[in-house]
Point group: C2
Chain length 156, copies 2
Amino acid sequence: MKKEEEFMKRAIELAAENIEQGGGPFGAVIVRNGKIIAEGSNRVTHDHDPTAHAEVVAIRKAAKELKNFKLDDCEIYASCEPCPMCLSAIYWSRIPVVYFSGDRHDAEAAGFDDSKIYEQLQISSDKRDIRMTQIVPQLSKEVFEKWSEQGDKTEY
Amino acid sequence: MKKEEEFMKRAIELAAENIEQGGGPFGAVIVRNGKIIAEGSNRVTHDHDPTAHAEVVAIRKAAKELKNFKLDDCEIYASCEPCPMCLSAIYWSRIPVVYFSGDRHDAEAAGFDDSKIYEQLQISSDKRDIRMTQIVPQLSKEVFEKWSEQGDKTEY
């Protein structure tokens, strides 16, 4: 079996085990130098954490493990196409390679909002289900000025 | 001063304090029944956690505090327009109301990738900077079948 399929099988196994433990049907692993360095499964309901999707859990573990917020030499294997939260987290973590098994339509058929959130992000904020309002914009300008004047800062 | 501006001032204050502590220029608060129940600032570099944006930190704290992954009776105040990761996290947490001060263009001017990631999410996966590949799709189908057959499950 190809190496990529082996890693995916592990992500799928985590998803299946997680269902048995009362969690959502999602798993993910992060691979570096041909080895799994972090695993995650969906902990949203277990941990009362709406951000605890499998990919986010795995990214957080890998970054802690490597003591680095940049995972630019890693690959991620997800049992399902990352939702927009997870895909954005992958961008922020600088992981350049993603493998997935199911897609957003499979997730939708199973009752999850991945597809819907992708659509919501693409429309203008005044048309979204969430009410979004910009207020006192000058206050943030002061903060960004402070940031640009700051000498010793870690950029990300 | 309007109540909304007071909450935003606190989010801005968290952003400014965070710069002094070597973190990114972002803060957020979550409000329920007219009171702040959770605060967050950007901990990406501090905590080696690429997902630790201010909004995600605040959502995680609020959900833990309420022992509920659904925050549908809350509002979030963010010092800057939520990036796609944070906005998706807001959708997943069911927060219906968002206030923000700066926008994605202010963030871009300060050197952050919010705008770029919004653009990347809107294009087809074969055109993205990240290489995305679907493999062994039948494996995930088995997992979703297991999920639909599962009796006692918490949906989210």
